[in-house]
Point group: C2
Chain length 143, copies 2
Amino acid sequence: MTDSSCSNESLILYKMNCLNKQISSKFESCMGISQSRHDILYQLYQVDEMSQTALQKEVKIDGAAITRHLKQLEALGMIVRRKDPDDNRFTLVSLSAHGREQIIASQAEKARFVTSMLKDFNEKERKELTDMLIRIQQNISEV
Amino acid sequence: MTDSSCSNESLILYKMNCLNKQISSKFESCMGISQSRHDILYQLYQVDEMSQTALQKEVKIDGAAITRHLKQLEALGMIVRRKDPDDNRFTLVSLSAHGREQIIASQAEKARFVTSMLKDFNEKERKELTDMLIRIQQNISEV
DNA sequence: GGTCAATGATTGATGCATCAATTAATATAC
DNA sequence: GTATATTAATTGATGCATCAATCATTGACC
């Protein structure tokens, strides 16, 4: 492997990190909530109710952070938590009516955001990018 | 824009965020230091000496974090800081001999990491990915 | 030379992710 | 039935990024 090739790979690593910080920042400016919080709410939007553990697995955020986010969202009246009657260890989470309205209302803004982010990417390129991201994820999971 | 197209764009957003978390975590496991800290040290490795402000601009990390990282690195004997004799506002930073040895020694491990991360990506694909990342960055900067 | 504006570095406050430890509940083994 | 192992959620500690505020220094202007 030549130096230029190594540098290009390192550059990819650097750019991904850097880009992600920019995306996060811009996302929060546009949406008014962080990416993680949006991911949590969006996941809840897609189901009627789910356990905290399942949620944590879906959005890939550590349980401690999940607990803290949910606590705040509950205080804001965005979600409702209750014990699972079949197993008291589980806490079931769902969007409140208010929370559901909010997440629905935010979808247009989000669509605008991602459309801007991928401006000038045709369908083929979007497919390729997705494919690459999946492959990298696979590679990383094997490190 | 159809729903499936919107979903795919959102999926790209989600995957990038998620992937970045995984990369960061694995990077730190493999290298023993965080990506940000490595970026700082690597940038210093490429120059003889530079100001904190220049460093902050190069690695795109906020000044407060730069100060804190450098303070710790100085305490570890990895870097040296001194006032710029031409302008007392500036602090000049350089790698210590020890720090330089360390960063040089870490390059092999880093090369292995990025090679694994991009396993099975040929030259063309790596070029495409870089290109896409640059384009997204451009798009994001215009949001 | 004096005043005000701009700049660099630092400190404080806050948000938030991770890992470790802990408690309570359930599952498993005997 | 009892003891132990496992699991879910929470709390504590830590790392670290950002923004705001502050202080010291320099630049611009009169």
